[in-house]
């Protein structure tokens, strides 16, 4: 079985969000880049599966659509245990553009893992789009994957509960929290080994984005918090009821 993990390169989650002067693009000066948190959990689960089924899993490949600045993020994925990285050399303009680029490199995999969301533009789209472009099954909100001969046993979250299912390969699992406990931290040995692992750069295909970001704004500033004394909880209830009309 070959596993592909889609890797988004996103600003560290503590980044203060700022934009360029005309507010048309995110200002990435001085930003620390990380593996998108959900993609990192997906990669962790892929590595766990390979450790548990060494004979069944041939390789774990990670892929990203991005310019050269994303390579340290891919090297980190190699350092924690991926065998090979692919970077499609293009600026990721929108989800359809990214999914179309990935479709070129994702054809020969049995299991593709994608995070349910990216922490930058919160699109929740690339995994599902890729599944449709490849015409394969997708299961979303996946919180557990086990390998069972040629099939995959999957846990997914549904509104108000969960389901256990069996899905044939090839398929895309779009994963959320719970799929793996803690992301792996690269060890020195892994970092050394990552330097000699292959990182293939693939040219982008001619695809047009279907959407564009026009302008960004920051949410309006909140009014100061109204403080209530801890011995006067009734007053809080009165305010919520009469002033905020929220109860």
């Amino acid at each position: 079985m070959k596993i592909l993990v889609l890797i988004g390169n996103v600003p560290d989650t503590t980044t203060k969000i700022k934009f360029n002067a005309d507010k048309t693009a995110f200002d990435d000066a001085g930003v620390q880049w990380i593996i998108n948190p959900w993609d990192e959990l997906a990669l962790t689960r892929a590595i766990e599966l390979k450790e548990a089924h060494a004979a069944a899993i041939e390789t774990i490949v990670v892929a990203n659509v991005g310019l050269a600045l994303t390579e340290p993020t891919l090297r980190k994925a190699l350092a924690v245990g991926a065998d090979k990285a692919i970077r499609v050399d293009a600026k990721p303009v929108d989800a359809f553009f990214v999914a179309s680029q990935l479709a070129q490199v994702a054809k020969d995999f049995d299991l593709i893992l994608a995070g349910i969301e990216a922490s930058d533009y919160n699109g929740s789209a690339v995994g599902g789009m890729l599944a449709e472009l490849l015409d394969i099954n997708s299961v979303s909100a996946v919180s557990g994957i086990e390998i069972d001969s040629e099939n995959l046993r999957i846990n997914r979250e549904i509104d108000g509960g969960s389901q256990k299912l069996v899905c044939k390969t090839p398929m895309i699992a779009i994963v959320q929290k719970g799929i793996a406990k803690e992301p792996r931290i690269p060890a020195m040995r892994g970092i050394m080994m990552a330097r000699s692992k292959p990182l293939e750069v693939v040219a982008a295909t001619d695809t047009e984005a279907l959407t564009s970001f026009d302008v960004f704004e920051l949410p309006p500033a909140k009014a100061a918090c109204k403080m209530v004394d801890e011995d006067n909880v009734k007053e809080l209830v009165r305010l919520l009821k009469e002033e905020a009309k929220a109860l």
Binding site: M129, D214, P219
Partner: protein
């Protein structure tokens, strides 16, 4: 031309988010001089379908087909594409919930339609078609333009609200044309949590952080939630410690919610947590540390011990409601 919504059902019933979608589509249709149509997959009684008419839907395509209950993403996508074609829909709107998030990107890719997910509010303009959504997990708002004639949107929960607009509904049986081979997913087991308000669609959410000290104190969160008909949530450290299930974690890497009222007990308000809750209409914070960042995001605050405030608040709510 029409605007099509996919109204998922839960054991034959619709929810507030179904009616919010209907309200949204009917406003969109009005703006553009189009018809607001819904498609329903699975068994739903006529009386339940009729309710969509109260929110401006004038036509419903009804595929009374039990096979859709296994929520096979590929099969549902095919059915929705067929429905969109049948009613010449240029815009399809889904809820931004588990199933909507799973289907919308597939449908968009299938139709080479531009997709914007978790849209808030009506378009800023319809030509070009520009909408707003939150990005960087609630830390910024983006204006996006869809460049294609065909469009797919998911609507962020509680971002539009309900707009009554009583309309006569016509129902049309709809044959999706799918064969058994289209339903590949095999569901072995479904576990439903009974009697709990769903976090993503709760009007009120009561949430606890490390300041709750121990999982043994969670009965206080639960009692208040029960009193208010609220959902329960927690901060990341609490779910990481295993005090509460991951499904309750709200924040940047957990769930993003937008209730009318959010209570944060013993949550300091790290930037990652605020990202998941900042779209709440009213935020109440109770924390011992008066410098906790949660107070910068909150509308109402109490500096104090959550374990002391909670029992008093439960009593005060009981009193106010009696």
């Amino acid at each position: 031309m029409s605007i099509l919504i996919y109204t998922e059902n839960w054991e034959g019933k619709f929810k507030k988010l179904s009616f919010e979608l209907a309200s949204y589509a009917s406003e969109l249709a009005k703006q553009a001089g189009k018809e607001a149509v819904a498609v329903s997959l699975g068994k739903v009684e006529d009386a339940e379908l009729q309710k969509l008419g109260q929110y401006g839907i004038s036509k419903i395509l009804v595929a009374d087909d039990e096979r859709f209950s296994n929520m096979d993403n590929k099969a549902i996508t095919k059915a929705l594409a067929a429905a969109a074609k049948k009613v010449s829909a240029d815009t399809v709107v889904l809820a931004h919930n588990n199933l909507g998030k799973a289907i919308a990107p597939r449908l968009a890719a299938r139709q080479s339609a531009g997709l914007v997910s978790a849209v808030v509010g009506l378009p800023l303009s319809t030509d070009p078609f520009t909408v707003k959504k939150m990005v960087f997990t609630g830390k910024a708002i983006a204006h996006l333009t869809i460049k294609t004639d065909k469009k797919v949107l998911t609507l962020a929960y509680n971002s539009f609200g309900l707009v009554e607009n009583a309309t006569k509904v016509s129902m049309e049986p709809f044959d999706t044309g799918l064969t058994d081979a289209d339903f590949e997913l095999q569901v072995l087991e479904t576990n439903k949590v009974k009697g709990k308000v769903l976090l993503n669609e709760a009007d009120i959410v009561v949430s606890g952080g490390r300041g709750m000290k121990s999982p043994d104190n969670w009965h206080l969160i639960e009692s208040l939630a029960e009193e208010l008909g609220a959902g329960t949530a927690c901060s990341r450290p609490v779910s990481d410690e295993g005090w509460r299930p991951h499904s309750e974690h709200v924040g940047q890497t957990g769930k993003i919610i937008a209730p009318n009222l959010y209570f944060a007990f013993g949550i300091s308000g790290a930037i990652q947590h605020l990202g998941g809750v900042s779209s709440s209409k009213v935020i109440v914070a109770v924390n011992k540390d008066h410098e906790a960042p949660i107070f910068e995001a909150a509308d109402y605050g109490i500096v104090g011990d959550a374990l002391k405030v909670l029992p008093e608040l439960i009593e005060a709510v009981k009193e106010a409601r009696s």
